[in-house]
Amino acid sequence: MTQIWSLIRKDWMIEWRLKYALSGLLLYLITLVFVIVISFQQISGPVWNVLYWILFLFVGMNAVLKSYQQESGQRKYYFQQLIDPVTLLISKTLYNIVLLFLAALLIYLLLSVFIESPVQHYALFLGTVAAVSVSFGICLTFISIVANQAAESATLAVIIGFPVLLPVLITGVRMSAFTIGMSMGGEIEGDFTILFAIDLLLLGLSLWLFPFLWKD
């Protein structure tokens, strides 16, 4: 437990020290929001919903996919001696989930500065964002690890990441459509259950598979 905590702290320290990573992300986000607001001007509820998740997808992929790249070369061997792979994976996943959740909140805040947000049920929306962040975190962490095995990891991560993330993204769009007052048929509880089931499945798999990828 303390190991996990210290690993998360280490990740945060690195991110904080390398200012360009975080500020680059922030700048990327602001630019995207700006382009969207300027080119759309008037945004209706459904469009806002889709735009929000597309923004989240791009920003999330950018944020997570590079986080594993530091874990190569000398440092990787050092870690292999020190840490149990499961601990490392859990700390990475937790860190990425928090990062994604914060990014999602930031996107929301930025968007609502420029455009009036159509969200009606704030608690539900927050829950949706949290649930999707968890799924994205688990998926993207594993994808970035797999992609890092290959030489051209950045391109590969995008290629293998998009299709895997798609079901989660579709469920997310559906769920937040509920929170802006659009009915998509069915109950939002069912979507939460599905996301939760996907989370459990993928988390279990990545915990089981990561040790195989970790050893060299």
């Binding site: 992609a147 590969l156 293998i160 299709p163 469920t171 048929g185 069915g186 069912g190 598979l209």
Partner: protein, 351 residues
């Protein structure tokens, strides 16, 4: 001992599927009724076009319009023009109490051929002015024969293409089995570290992708002729395409890693992960969203009314047959990959 018999069994089953699936006739059906909407009242005339019907063979036909179980009406008179065409005149009674301003009625003709011909929502009835001598009678008055002869059910838009169930749909099921086998081999590789299992996983994934692509293209042909468009962004179509993308990414991943052992390990891990994401992709998400495919958005699922007992006789063997054929091809691919690997490790080939 190497078992060979299942290959021939697979071919035999496919031949059976082909013969049985193509030769068993379709039950009788109704293609079109004109006019498709009318007012209630006496002397309403309809013209009916049938499919696989033999109207002129029977002395007495029962032409019935049905609103619900308690409200049916028999045609006053009918005139057979040909085996596939007849005219019927109804005295339509006023719509029953509590009905909406217009109601859809089902047209039933029996005997029509080898059974009963039914067209759901054939005519929309509106309240008319004239009095009518007819009266609604309950359905129990008519003895619609439960069809005993061997035939596949007639569905209006599908018609003969209902036989595609044994090819297009069975291919998808076979693909799931083949890809499942690929995942099992990946698990075995991770457990044992023997390269053979990884080569097998690779071979099965290749064949799985092949069958998946066939599933998509055959589906497009079927869709072009039933839904009017080859690609209508139906959720199941989209998800199937995404599933193919996931597995294509598997091959991209494999080809981008040089080291044999590392490639096998990473490939196996991704293969297991990919198969796990395939399940929500193909079976959970499409059920949430409206779809033209059966089994979602309130449509009946496979095993509902779309698949009757005669069809089951062909459909289940068809799945087994396609799976066995796919397994055969995958075994051949595996043997090729194995020899290629051996030759490469001895520097016998530049491939």
């Amino acid at each position: 001992m190497r078992l060979e018999w299942w290959k021939y069994l697979g071919i035999a089953i496919l031949l059976y599927t082909l013969l049985f699936g193509m030769l068993v006739p379709l039950g009788p059906g109704i293609v079109e009724v004109s006019p498709s909407q009318t007012n209630t009242g006496p002397g309403q005339e309809f013209e009916v076009w049938g499919y696989n019907t033999r109207f002129s063979q029977f002395e007495k036909l029962n032409v019935v319009l049905k609103l619900d179980d308690n409200h049916c009406v028999l045609a006053r008179e009918y005139q057979v023009i040909s085996d596939y065409r007849l005219k019927a005149i109804f005295d339509l009674p006023a719509l029953p109490e509590g009905a909406r301003s217009s109601e859809f009625a089902t047209l039933i003709i029996y005997p029509a051929g080898t059974g009963t011909a039914i067209l759901p929502s054939a005519v929309s009835l509106k309240e008319g002015d004239g009095d009518s001598s007819g009266a609604w009678v309950p359905e129990s008055q008519f003895a619609f024969d439960r069809n005993t002869s061997l035939h596949f059910p007639y569905r209006n838009i599908l018609m003969e293409s209902i036989r595609n169930t044994y090819f297009h749909v069975a291919l998808w099921f076979a693909m799931m089995f083949i890809l499942g086998a690929s995942m099992v081999y990946s698990i075995r590789y991770l457990r044992s570290g023997l390269l053979d299992w990884d080569l097998k996983a690779n071979a099965y994934a290749q064949v799985g992708i092949l069958i998946g692509c066939l599933g998509i293209t055959t589906g497009m042909i079927w869709a072009a002729n039933t839904w009017g468009k080859a690609w209508s962004w139906d959720i199941k179509q989209t998800m199937a395409a995404v599933a193919m993308l996931i597995y294509l990414a598997y091959f991209v991943l494999r080809s981008s890693i040089e080291d044999q052992e590392k490639r096998a390990r990473t490939g196996a891990a991704y293969n297991i992960f990919a198969f796990a994401t395939l399940i929500p992709l193909l079976y959970v998400v499409p059920r949430l969203v409206d779809s033209l495919h059966p089994g979602s958005g309130g449509n009946p699922a496979m095993g509902g009314e779309d698949l009757d007992n005669t069809m089951r006789l062909v459909f289940y063997p068809a799945i087994i047959g396609w799976t066995l054929l796919g397994t055969w091809v995958a075994q051949l691919t595996f043997r090729y990959l194995k020899i290629l690997y051996l030759m490469r490790s001895r520097n016998l080939t530049e491939q």
